[in-house]
């Protein structure tokens, strides 16, 4: 593997301020090579968005505590001063959000928001920045781009807004794109268009993408590699192909089986994982998935569960891997 562009090492995020500290992310390590797309999947509250926000240190500073190391292009994000951080945000790494209507300032026209972002990072005239905003709108294929620049977020459709958000994120030519469930709020046909657009832009611009989603289908569409998160930990990581074909962690298997798919016959029950995710302020000993796992034994409920290498690029955090050779789970 080449030198990773984004390298997360032993990241931990703890939220304070409640009655008990909440360990939202626990010992997460993840590398993304230049031009690679990695999807982080998991259910709500598994820590995937928190992990992604930590890459830009966007979690509330006062209430969260970060440990570990995050390197982007060789620079440690944790060590950056406020000034370095705001220079880094937007120009090195950029982010797109789940619901663009909430993530765009409602009282500024989109063109103005893009111009503002460009001029924040570069010394460039207003006219030139606007010309670039127009190019970006055309690049993400917004129809009648010129007049759309003067639109406010509420004047656009959902898919169009997400395109505009992508244009805004790409405004300062970042090398890393962080996408926080960018298709969840869109309807199915628009989802595909946005995913294809992301894939295409990634190839064209050589972007590294960290793609957070709970939609496995979307992850397969975009990502080269997939990491599965559960209760603040990465429990399995593999190439998209391996993960779908030969999942090894019982949780991944459960996720894949719980999807609705074409082969389902009317009247059959959807396989769901029993139980509910653990309370992050009160994690159980041992493997956090053990209370819901059909393979768990006494050894799973104590101590720290390490990461096991299965094959090149495929690893899982489970001590019963000898029991987990599943075939064609999806």
């Amino acid at each position: 593997m080449t030198v990773p562009f984004l390298s997360i090492k032993n990241l931990g995020v703890t939220f304070k301020g409640g009655t008990r500290p909440v360990r939202a992310v626990n010992d997460v390590s993840l590398d993304i090579a230049p031009g690679e797309a990695v999807a982080l999947i998991g259910e709500s509250g598994s820590g995937k968005s928190v992990t992604m926000r930590a890459v830009m240190r966007l979690n509330p500073e006062k209430r969260s505590q970060l440990d570990g190391q995050i390197l982007v292009g060789g620079r440690d994000v944790m060590e950056m001063s406020t000034r370095q951080l705001s220079k880094f945000r937007g120009s090195e790494a950029a982010m797109i959000f789940q619901e663009p209507l909430l993530a765009l300032d409602p009282v500024y026209a989109l063109g103005d928001q893009i111009v503002e972002a460009i001029r924040r990072h570069e010394v460039i005239s207003r006219d030139k920045a606007r010309a670039r905003a127009l190019e970006l709108f055309e690049q993400v294929r917004i129809p009648s781009a010129r007049s759309r620049l003067d639109n406010y977020p509420h004047e656009m459709s959902g898919g169009m807004r997400q395109r505009a958000m992508i244009a805004l994120a790409l405004a300062c030519r970042p090398k890393l794109l962080l996408a926080d469930e960018p298709t969840t709020a869109l309807d199915a046909t628009v989802q595909i268009q946005v995913l294809l657009l992301l894939r295409e832009l990634q190839r064209e611009l050589g972007l590294s993408i960290l793609f957070v989603t709970h939609d496995i289908g979307a992850a397969i569409e975009v990502a080269d590699r997939i990491a599965v998160m559960y209760a603040g930990q990465i429990v399995e990581e593999a190439s998209a192909r391996d993960l779908i074909r030969t999942p090894r962690h019982p949780y991944t298997l459960g996720l894949l089986k719980s999807r609705a798919h074409d082969a389902m016959v009317k009247g059959t029950k959807l396989d769901a994982i029993p139980g509910a995710p653990p309370d992050l302020a009160n994690l159980p000993d041992g493997c956090p998935f053990s209370p819901r796992c059909f393979l768990a034994d006494g050894g799973c409920r104590t101590g720290k569960i390490g990461i096991e290498q299965i094959s090149a690029g495929h690893q899982a955090r489970c001590r019963r891997l000898d029991q987990t050779v599943f075939r064609d789970a999806g």
Partner: protein, 316 residues
Amino acid sequence: MLGYSLRRIIYTIPVLLGVSLVCFALVHISPGDPLISILPADASVELQDRLRVLYGFDRSYPEQFLLWLGRALQGDLGTSIATGRPVTAEVINAVGNTLLLAAVATFVGFVLGCFFGFVAGYFSNSPMDKAASAAAVFGVSVPHYWLGMVLVIIFSAQLGWLPASGAGPGGSSQWKLDAEHISYLILPALTMSVIPMGIIARTVRALVAEILAQEFVIGLRARGLSEFGVFLHVVKNAAPTALAVMGVQLGYLLGGSILIETVFSWPGTGMLLNSAIFQRDLPLLQGTILVLALFFVVLNLLVDIMQSALDPRIKR
């Protein structure tokens, strides 16, 4: 924008008609004969009747209303029963004084209120928020006539720095922009500003806290905006509502705080209303209320138009 403004202007016409009807009716529904207060107790019935005809009180109410409205449209609000001077001149004079007082008070209140509100909203639940919120609650809940009297005791009676009452030399009609006149303005304006200060501070605090909790603020930070850059976005998001509240407050203060104007003997609409009520001076009362209501409607119109200019979501 232009279409919206025009539509809003046209909407005010029925509102103004309704307002004039209500204000005519209110005054006439209330019991008591206005002429009794100006006539000697032993006035003959003929004299009473003559005056009644002179003031038009002998006609039917609809007739009186239409006559009054027709004259009002030409700028004639009748003659004051108590002073015999034209109501229009009296009202314009008083409105000018109140406008001055209210504008200064609203401006001071707006600036202080925004300051306290932003501090409280930005550092919500910190000691600074507690202090700023306490100042806001004080402003809303302190009795203003009491505050006015306390200020007079401290700054006029004890320290002798500022005059205690009146609008300065020349009385109500010759206000000039000089140090002496301004010294007369300080205490009443300060007392009056406490009301909008409290209300605006509370509004702005809630607004800022709500805006900061929205996802787009994270979006702005993710674009690399500095804290000051984010602050400017927060200001622009808060501005429409804050200005609307300010406009409404200015409207209330224009009604002339009767209590404050009485405490400071400020020759504004509050004082005018006060004396009109006590003397049962119907034309003066009607005229003053009408002009004040007119101001209120126009002010709301301006606020609406300004809001639509600031907030793109209101336009269509």
